[in-house]
């Protein structure tokens, strides 16, 4: 009896090793993306069309991705970091130039998403999604329209405010409130922003990542700083919500597809990027995840309601006052220190 159990266990062991050992000679590509940031059906379509198996995996933050790439020991073919992280990766030679001749759909991308500061010649990245950071609030719980970052310091909203649990985004809010650039390299200005955030802390409900969506949709807190795509998803679930881009200006961000320098299969990576940029695919994907696509033809395929939404597709004029993050480079440890001082303040 015991022998049988042992044999069975050995079989299971063997099977599990064999099953992972043999992926066959099938061509594969390793895609590493934000969690739940793609329509899984798109991956199936790609596999069907190109006969390349997609090994898909997810991360939670830009920094997470950066550390995994830096640490070595893993190779990815396509990753999707944000603007300032792309800048940092280019500077540190972590990326491979993309041959745009192989990206036939490249011309489908709106010019205003190309040649941005983080990749001036647009030789390393192909835009994936974009958006803004703003304030979402519940109109049934807040009796006046919110318009500025300064409103987040109003004691009337004690226990109702949720800030982002992210060094850069939250410091940017305070810097903008003070009228400084969110890319400031002046430590004095950063420290002022720190004091501002510490003074706000007693009225803050929590500093959250994406749990924020559950909390706001459920009406557990009235006000939150969020990314526009998340705002779309939340407003879809709860019609009482309103999204504003504060008057002081905000962060305009881009997530773009890049190929790491140590990619094993750059050809397939280019095919994948090309595929994702194809309007009908981009539309399908944008529809699924709720973020804004940089491909105009794809946008045209979406519901009228989404197309005309000032949240997902704000007008040029609304974006006038925005800034794109730059890599803090050498002062990154200052950011770290200042953020620790904020989070550990009582």
């Amino acid at each position: 009896m015991k022998n049988k159990i042992l044999i069975m266990l050995a079989m299971v062991l063997l099977l599990s090793v064999v099953a992972t050992g043999c992926g066959g000679n099938e061509e594969t590509i390793n895609v590493y993306n934000w969690g739940d940031y793609i329509d899984p059906e798109v991956l199936d379509l790609f596999e069907e069309e190109y006969g390349v198996r997609v090994v898909y995996d997810t991360y939670a933050t830009n920094e997470d991705l950066y550390v995994k790439m830096k640490q070595g020991g893993s190779s990815y073919d396509v990753v999707i970091p944000s603007d300032y992280m792309i800048e940092r990766m280019i500077r540190e030679d972590l990326l491979m130039e993309i041959n745009m001749d192989n990206i036939s759909m490249f011309e489908k991308i709106d010019d205003r998403f190309l040649n941005l500061d983080y990749d001036p010649d647009n030789s390393y990245s192909v835009p994936y999604m974009w958006g803004t950071v703003g304030i979402i609030y519940n109109t049934t719980m807040v009796d006046r329209p919110l318009t500025s970052w300064g409103d987040l310091w109003d004691e009337e909203f004690e226990g109702e405010i949720i800030m982002l649990n992210s060094q850069r985004d939250t410091l940017a809010v305070a810097l903008k409130k003070l009228g400084y650039s969110m890319n400031t390299r002046d430590i004095g200005e950063l420290e002022e922003a720190r004091d501002e955030l510490i003074s706000q802390k007693p009225i803050v409900y929590a500093y959250l990542g994406d749990e924020v969506k559950d909390v706001i949709v459920g009406g557990e807190a009235a006000i939150a700083v969020v990314w526009s795509g998340d705002a779309m998803a939340m407003m879809d679930e709860n019609p009482d919500l309103e999204y504003v881009i504060p008057s002081e200006g905000t962060n305009l961000w881009f997530d773009a597809m890049v190929i790491p320098a140590n990619a094993q299969n750059p050809e397939a990576a280019e095919q994948f990027i090309d595929f994702m940029t194809r309007p009908e695919i981009a539309a399908m994907n944008a529809d699924y995840i709720g973020y804004s696509s940089p491909v105009p033809e794809a946008v045209e395929m979406l519901d009228e309601e989404i197309q005309n939404s000032p949240v997902a597709y704000p007008s040029e004029e609304m974006l006038e006052n925005t800034e794109v993050f730059k890599d803090p480079q050498d002062i990154i440890s200052e950011y770290d220190r200042i953020w620790t001082e904020i989070t550990s303040a009582q």
């Binding site: 920094e63 409900y205 959250l208 459920g218 989070t343």
Partner: protein, 279 residues
């Protein structure tokens, strides 16, 4: 019996997977440079100097304080239940022990996440509280919520070792004490509790260590409003990428824990038996 020789391969394993990695972390802790490039390392105690500042020491103090309180709560809540279970008939006893273990089979991230639903402003607990007149009490995103998360996750670690010692205890001792005229309180404090001390110490160890180093519970239930030492270490390795400072804090945390364990193990005479009888 020549059986001790078969232990040697494990010695090699311990060397490679436990000793060497810790030496590496120690090496990182005492050097500075580009964390990703070994050739730039140079010896320095800069990281330790950095740690000796009010911010970081304050975080360590807070972590220890919260872990201590949660351990105490676990002990106060867990001892009676261990005692109750140990006095049940074997059949019921087994079922109850099983019921203590079963929750641990569900992913702990999810279980902690579920508390958000219970504690939130529209959560069941808040509604119950406001029903009995405690309106507007905020249960989530504060130290109380973090403590609750710790107690919830680690309570079984306290109950099981104590239970295990209590069931092994010789009942004749209790009877003898009773025969000699001790009342129930005396029996408990003079006989049962001292005999269960090894289990209590194991329990304290099993609760305190994960509590002092957690970063998930403080993040999820504390709303990231207050940083614990675990959060700081995670931040260094994952966001900042400064392996040196991260290693320094790891080493400090490790030394702190080993030192406090060395202190408590003085009470624990049955060390070889595997942590006083968790098993």
């Amino acid at each position: 019996m020549k059986l001790n020789r078969i232990g040697y391969p494990y010695l090699i394993w311990l060397g490679i997977f436990i000793l060497i990695p810790l030496l590496l972390v120690t090496y990182f802790a005492f050097t500075t440079g580009d964390s990703q490039n070994f050739s730039t390392f140079s010896f320095s105690i800069e990281n330790f100097e950095k740690f000796i500042s009010p911010i970081y020491l304050g975080v360590l103090y807070r972590s220890v304080k919260l872990a201590f309180i949660s351990t105490l709560i676990c002990l106060v809540l867990g001892y009676p239940i261990a005692l109750i279970i140990s006095k049940e008939k074997p059949k019921i006893r087994n079922i109850m022990v099983l019921m203590l273990v079963i929750p641990m089979w569900m992913n702990f991230l999810l279980r902690t996440y579920a508390w958000l639903t219970l504690l939130g402003k529209n959560g069941i607990l808040t509604k119950v509280l406001s029903f009995i007149g405690l309106e507007g009490v905020s249960l989530l995103y504060n130290d109380t919520a973090v403590l609750l998360g710790m107690v919830y996750n680690f309570l079984p670690f306290m109950v099981l070792p104590i239970f295990s010692v209590l069931t092994k205890m010789d009942n004749n001792l209790v009877e003898a004490a009773e025969d000699l005229g001790a009342n129930r309180a005396e029996v408990f404090w003079k006989v049962i509790f001292p005999l269960s001390l090894p289990g209590v110490i194991t329990g304290i160890t099993m609760v305190f260590i994960p509590a002092v180093s957690t970063f998930v519970i403080s993040g999820l239930l504390g709303g990231n409003k207050s940083t614990l030492i675990g959060n700081l270490i995670e931040q260094q390795f994952r966001y900042t990428g400064d392996w040196h400072f991260g290693s320094t804090m790891s080493i400090i945390l490790m030394v702190f824990i080993l030192a406090s364990m060395a202190l408590t193990s003085k009470f624990d005479k049955e060390k070889e038996g595997g942590g006083g009888g968790l098993w």
